[in-house]
């Protein structure tokens, strides 16, 4: 289940190749991506994100306190 969510979030960020860095904070994933246009906000929300904030190549995906676990799962998938 958690792995599925991590996979869905990674896909919505444009896939592993598009992700430069993911850093978990306590409520959100702070992601830096190669190409911001590949981010699918609707898919991120469908994957369970409470909110998505995009500022150029930096995307914050609000996932709540499971951010730490999700970030680890996403790293495993990359």
């Amino acid at each position: 289940m958690a792995q599925d969510k991590a996979a869905a979030i990674l896909a919505a960020l444009g896939g592993g190749d598009n992700v430069v860095e993911i850093e978990p904070c306590i409520t959100r994933l702070r992601c830096e991506v190669e190409d911001g246009s590949k981010i699918d906000e609707a898919a991120l929300k469908a994957a369970g994100a409470h909110g998505v904030m995009v500022q150029g190549p930096v995307v914050q995906v609000v996932v709540g306190p499971e951010a730490d676990t999700l970030a680890e799962d996403i790293e495993d998938l990359r």
Partner: protein, 151 residues
């Protein structure tokens, strides 16, 4: 049974909508109250009794036995300080009392790095009407009630 949530710091209780971060101001992870800390280096204390569920230098979550999980975030974007200036006194998984010190930090130092030192105190994943007796103006000391959660 409701759980009373105390202020983790001394300062000015403020509406969460005033926090300069959309995740908190729009209550994306849950409703709460913010406290603008007064003074310099001080302890941030547990707002409720419970288990330390998540612990970062700049933020922590206490899961109360009643089921509510309370997030305390010390300043905004303070993850970028990489723990510098934050001294932890507990470990993840520890059981703590309300009012027990969790982190020693310095709001003035946080501000000297250009970050807001305001502290959102948020109940994770509950509806906004789950809070009662909300106090969002006026001075509080650490441990003063900010709100109660639960029926």
């Amino acid at each position: 049974m409701s759980t009373e949530v105390g202020s983790p710091v001394a300062g000015l209780a403020t509406a969460i909508s005033e926090v300069p971060d959309p995740v908190f101001s729009q209550a994306m992870v849950g409703p709460g109250v913010a406290v603008q800390p007064s003074g310099g280096r001080a302890d941030a204390v547990a707002p409720v009794a419970g288990m330390v569920a998540t612990l970062h230098p700049h933020a922590f979550v206490i899961a109360s036995p009643g089921g509510a999980a309370i997030l305390v975030h010390l300043g905004i974007d303070t993850v970028k300080l990489k723990g510098e200036g934050f001294e932890l006194h507990v470990a993840k998984g520890d059981v703590v009392e309300a009012g027990q010190r969790i982190v020693t930090w310095d709001p003035s130092e946080v501000e000297s790095h250009g970050y807001s030192s305001i502290c959102p105190v948020v109940v994770l994943d509950v509806a906004s009407d789950a809070l009662t007796d909300v106090r969002e103006d006026g001075q509080v000391v650490a441990g003063d009630p900010l709100f109660a959660v639960g029926a």
